[in-house]
Structure formats: structure tokens, C-alpha cells
Amino acid sequence: MTKTLQDIKKLVEPTRIHRTIYTDPEIFDLEMERIFENTWIYLGHESQIREAGDYLTVNIGRRPVIMVRGKEGEINVLHNQCAHRGAKVAGKKCGNVRAFRCCYHGWTFKTDGKLIGVPHKVGYEQTDFDINDPAFSLKKIRSESYRGFVFANLSADGPDLRTFLGDAASSIDNMIDRAPDGELEITGGVLRFHHNCNWKLFVDNLNDTMHPMVTHQSVGDACQAYVDELPEGAPKTHEADIISPFGSSYKLFDEMGVSVGPNGHGFTGGATSIHSNYMDIPGYMEAMHKAYGEQKTRDILSVNRHNTIYYPSLTIKGAIQSIRIVRPVAVNETEIETWTFRLKGAPDEMLQRTMLYSRLINSPSSMVGADDLEAYRRLQAGLQSGGTEWVNMSRFIGREEHPDGNMTRAIGTSDISLRNQYHAWLDYMTRNTQKEVA
């Protein structure tokens, strides 16, 4: 059965969404086509491909692509599909090449996608084959970098990347500003965390501030139980520093605030967040003061955002220098990749805290992540029941909200982030209507 425009419009109301958007495989296929394969999707960071020929391979929705540093230092994003018979020309997750040579019949392509070699060339005379015809090159995809963060867009329509990111780009700015040298570098490998749930359940949860004191109560208590057993005067530990705030009070989350903007983007936190009371890293403040002066340093470090979502594919934690990438696989299967950054010019202890945070919160071994995933699994299963057809998102609607630049700021435990994401979702899903109206 094919969903009509009207069918899809019925799935999102101002205060509720229909349960099947998480469970219906047809909706998932439409999301890949109309959202992931139709907007700016995060691929990787420029520091991952420094030298000419450095590349990485990822999927945009269901489509395999290559992000590669070209000969002139430019970044090219190419369909990972040989123009001959269609095999992926790059088979590894990352590497360095002079040219991409297909493993099947040896067609060879430059790092800008141009076909440069075909073995045993005889036999193509009087055919449509022409080595210089762009139809026989690896097809290029529109891509842009925002301060090192590379996105690609399979659609030629729509805004440029900067416009797409809007005011939410300030979270990327703040993460970069936190580096005394004003530069970030991806380092220390990647964590891949398999989630057997719909991708939106993960994204919904990023700015859901009503779940930690329920879902993560046990982790907060376990931390406290550990601290209570310590001998008097024992030094504070980074572990307790990082985990304990996940069991914070509703008041803290109310005060954190939440901001939402166009295209589904948004962030929780502001002057305060669960990251704002970490212990100082020795040497970091000195390095920041030297680079920026005391006032500017205060300004930079007073921005303590928790999660920022660049809907639908990238989520960042500026204050902790880690990012998570959302890669949907199937209606009930999602891959979450966590990458970590070094703040250039900061002491090594800063990176080590980032790694500790990522292990404790983003790793498959995380106690926090395990409890979140358990909630997502139960959502995925429970939503099949149909006892109620709707998922509620009415908390604080129209209340405790005010404009803030091009974004809207609200009380931290508002459901505004959900409403904003599903507004964007519906917009994407119903935007290109020509095919269906007919």
C-alpha cells in the first residue's frame, strides 16, 4: 500500500504523533527518501582526511558514498558505485588512495570521480562508451563544510549548509572556541553502538529532560552509594563528576532551558547544564586566558549546552567535545557512532576527560546508555500494541516560551524539542508532493 500525502499529514498533530511513524517499514522507506536522501547529512570532519587521497566511506540514508580529499586539497563527496557495473569502488571504512580502482573489472577513477582507466579497452568502438563522458565517472554529490564539519546533500534543491544550520550553528562555534588554538581534531577512534530501535527514538531522547531522574535514577544512586563508601576527605573523582548529574533534579533540567529553531534543530542547556560543574582541568584555564583573555574565556565557558541536534543526522556535545552520528539501518535498527575531539592547545587531561565521558555515557558498556536503550526497546515493542494510537508531546505547549534570535527558547522540561522535530519531519515528508498528487 502506498501512503498518500493525506495519510502522512494525519500522523502529526500539534500535540501528538501517531505510533506507526516508529513502527511502519513503509514510513521508514519514505523517511530515507524524503529526509535523509533529501537534506544536509553529516559525513565526517575535515581532520579525518588531511592528505590528498585520504577518504572515508559512509551511508547517506541507504546510499553508500565516499568523502575524499582531492589533489587540490578540495573535499569531494562521490557515490560509492562504479560507473561500469555498480560495485562499491571503496570497500574499506577509511584509507588513502591515488585513485579508486574497482575490484571487479578494474575501472579506475580519480579522487574527483573522473574515469581515467579501463583495462583492455578494445571492444567499445561504435558503442555509447566514452571515457570522457561524465556519465562514466563517479557521480559527485553536493557537499559543504561548516568550520570543518562536512555535510552532503543528495538533493540539488534547498538552502546552503550555513542557512540550513541557522542559529544552532553556534553550538559548533562554541566547541571550536573552547580550543585555545581555535581548532578541533578528531582523535582516539570511534565507538559503534547498535540500537535495536527506530532512529527517532534516539533523537527524541536527546533533549528529553523528563527521563533522566526516572531512567537514570539507579545510576545516580549507584554513584552516590560509591561516594558514601569513600573514606572522609577522599578526592572527588571524574567518574562521579560525570555520572552523578544524570540523576539531577527536575529543577536543574527546568533551569537548563531548551532552544529550538528551523529544520528541526535544537539544544538543551545554556548557562547551566549537566556539564557546568565539572572539576577544572589543570592548565586549561591558563591556556584559554592566554589565547582569549579573561573576559572572552568567561563568555566561551559560560555556554554549557548539553545536546545539540542538527536534525536528523548529527548530535554534538560542545562542552564535552564529542559527537554522535545517527545512521538509520531499518525501521527498528539504528547505528550510533561516537567520535571525540581534541581541543588544540588544551592539556591532554582535557582529551582524557572527553574519552572518560564517552566511555561512561556513549559506549555499549555505558550504564546510562544501557538504561536509555532499554527504554527505546520497550517503546519499540510497546508502540506495536495500539492501546492508544497516539504519542503525547503536549508538555508546556505555548507556555514558558519566548523568541531568542531566530530560535525559540523554552523551559527545560518542555516538549518543545519534540514538537519542533515533528514539525520539521512533517515538512520534509510532505514537501515534494507532485508525484503523489497525480
Binding site: L191, H194, E239, T340, R359, L360, S365, A375, R378
Partner: protein, 168 residues
């Protein structure tokens, strides 16, 4: 070669002694007895599961696990907590350990390093088979060995993993 003039902390352990120790440790995990398991580690002990084959650095590079004793204790408290959603599903494991071999022995301290291969089936809602090698750095305390570091190299360390709610 051992210098005869040098004081020797203990004899070189044989494989049977080391194997017993590894069996005992795995048995505590299979009983989900974290309290007893943690006591097998030195105060500066660590449990490390790298995310890359041959990974050398546990602190400037990400790992799946790199727990000190503080983290082990927090996990133990969490496992016992009545309201941990992820712990409502019971977890059971069964470890098989083999190919135990001594790779390093320091006669002066009695400390040694033991490598072994393992397969661990973990049942947690569904069943998952983990396989790989262990490297145990052991410290001789005068009457027994304690673990200074247990390194767990999964053969699929860099794969996408679901929740790991217990040490392997």
C-alpha cells in the same frame, strides 16, 4: 636466567595454578557476583576492553571499557539497584577459557602476565557469543595473586555492539 644471588619472591607459577585463578575469576562473573570479582583486583586494578585490535593507549583513545576500581564499584551498586531498567532483564553468562600460557614472569616480584583464549556466551534477553583473548597482569602479594589489569581483546572489538551490561 635467574641470578642465584637475587631474592626470589616465589617459584615460577605453572599453568595449572594460573588456570585455576582464571577459572575462579570467570566463575564469579558467571555467578554475577561482582563483589567477589572486584576483590580479585589490586587497589589500582583495571578492566580494559579496547575498541581496536592492537590498541595501545587506554586513556587518549576510546575503549569499550576501561574501568578502575571506582567504576567497578559503581557498576556493582547499579547492578544491585531495584530500579535500573536495563537490569530488569536477568543476565547470565558462561565462560570457557583455554590456551592458557605464561608470557612473562618476574622472579624478583613474583608478578606475571598470563594470556588465554576465551568464549563467553551471554544471555540477556537474547544470546550473544563473545570470543577473543585475555591478558591478565598479575601481582604476587606474598600469599596470592591479584589482578592489576585484565585486558579483553574481542575478535570483533571494532564491530557495532549492543549493550554490554556485565564484564566479559
Amino acid at each position: 636466567m635467574t641470578n642465584p644471588a637475587m631474592k626470589q619472591a616465589r617459584n615460577c607459577p605453572d599453568v595449572a595454578e594460573l588456570t585455576n585463578l582464571l577459572y575462579r575469576e570467570a566463575d564469579f562473573l558467571d555467578q554475577t557476583n561482582l563483589r567477589a570479582w572486584i576483590d580479585l583486583f589490586t587497589e589500582d586494578g583495571a578492566y580494559w576492553m579496547p575498541v581496536e585490535a592492537g590498541q595501545e593507549d587506554p586513556i587518549n583513545h576510546i575503549s569499550i571499557f576501561y574501568d578502575d576500581k571506582a567504576m567497578m564499584q559503581i557498576r556493582q551498586h547499579n547492578l544491585d539497584h531495584a530500579r535500573a531498567p536495563s537490569k530488569e532483564t536477568e543476565v547470565r553468562s558462561s565462560h570457557i577459557i583455554g590456551n592458557v600460557r605464561l608470557v612473562d614472569f618476574d622472579a624478583e616480584t613474583g608478578n606475571c602476565t598470563v594470556k588465554s583464549n576465551f568464549q563467553a556466551a551471554v544471555y540477556y534477553g537474547g544470546q550473544t557469543l563473545y570470543a577473543g583473548s585475555y591478558t591478565h597482569d598479575l601481582v604476587w602479594t606474598g600469599d596470592k595473586y591479584l589482578i592489576r589489569r585484565k585486558r579483553v581483546d574481542l575478535i570483533n572489538c571494532d564491530a557495532s555492539h549492543s549493550t554490554m551490561v556485565i564484564y566479559i
